[in-house]
Symmetry: C2
Subunit: 191 residues, 2 copies
């Protein structure tokens, strides 16, 4: 899995998330781990992301306690696993991760589980903003590392899908199990 990943500069993290795809949010604190899905995730700067993490989620405490979270872009090949990770709460099922059907791997020196089959992965340090967190469940993170699958994303943060990488197309969630995958590429010139 890691063989396909290249590291990008942290100030290109916005390019990875500009497509507006649904993300998986990973977290860990003192051995407790969770991965949930979040659609309300958005660049806040070239090297920062915002994410709405509801106060009821198991992940919320892990993120608050560790001050860290990961964002991943699940590809359409793992849409069912992504929906499961977004539908089942670890509050209700402590074995959520093991039973999700998702496969996990770890990057060096990072205890947060990464899900196989994502287009990209990024790590963030929470920038403490208590008012936003309390009022809007809104967390802002500064990127500390970002990796992308080099088969679809190059060092400049440019995307390119073909038949062999169709399973990595980003997912865009509406509700009730209803998704779209990202589609046709267009390069527009204004001359």
């Amino acid at each position: 899995m890691k063989d396909h990943l290249i590291s990008l500069p942290t100030d290109l993290v916005y390019r990875v998330f500009n497509l507006g795809a649904t993300s998986l949010v990973g977290s860990e604190y003192q051995g407790q781990k969770d991965v949930m899905a979040a659609t309300w995730v958005c660049p806040a700067d070239y090297d920062k992301m915002s994410a709405v993490i509801d106060s009821t989620h198991f992940s919320r405490k892990l993120i608050e306690q560790s001050g860290k979270f990961a964002l991943m872009l699940p590809g359409k090949g793992i849409v069912k696993e992504a929906l499961t990770l977004g539908s089942v709460s670890k509050n209700d099922n402590p074995d959520k991760l093991e039973q999700s059907g998702a496969k996990f791997f770890y990057m060096d020196n990072c205890p947060i589980p990464f899900v196989e089959g994502c287009a990209a992965y990024a790590l963030f340090d929470v920038i403490p903003e208590p008012h936003n967190e309390k009022t809007y469940d809104l967390f802002i993170g500064k990127c500390t590392a970002v990796w992308a699958d080099k088969r679809i994303l190059d060092e400049r943060g440019h995307w390119n899908f073909d038949e062999s990488t169709d399973h990595l197309r980003t997912l865009h969630y509406v509700s009730g199990g209803h998704f779209f995958a990202i589609g046709e590429s267009m390069d527009i010139s204004l001359d």
Copy 2:
């Protein structure tokens, strides 16, 4: 144009923007009008949206002074107009709107220009958050009205594209004129 629009409940505005598409941001103050593009736009609640509006943009002052903004989802049929509205600043060209190639229309009792060829339109009142606006250029708006093109979005906020509405597929911007349109629809069940 208006014939195709249906009004949705404001607490379904998140469904309209869940796809994570690039938006057009409309604004008006005392007769001055602007429309810019923004990719860093995201639901913040069922009836709220966040939008990053850089302090250098002409639109920024109009939004700050009026306390209102509109978000629109340009379809792929107006990708060139959307890129133009996002590339040219009214600071540099006062005739930006007239020369953009975009066509405009107005909803009753609203002075903000709406761009023809969008999948959906929504109006917001700014919730004043001076720290976010100053530190992150981040504005949070509460939805006061939302309309969608009924050929592709139904009253429940469910999307459906076909050949006849292909030009309304949402746009997802990367950078440098490089876009994707939203693609294949998938309905996933977890039995």
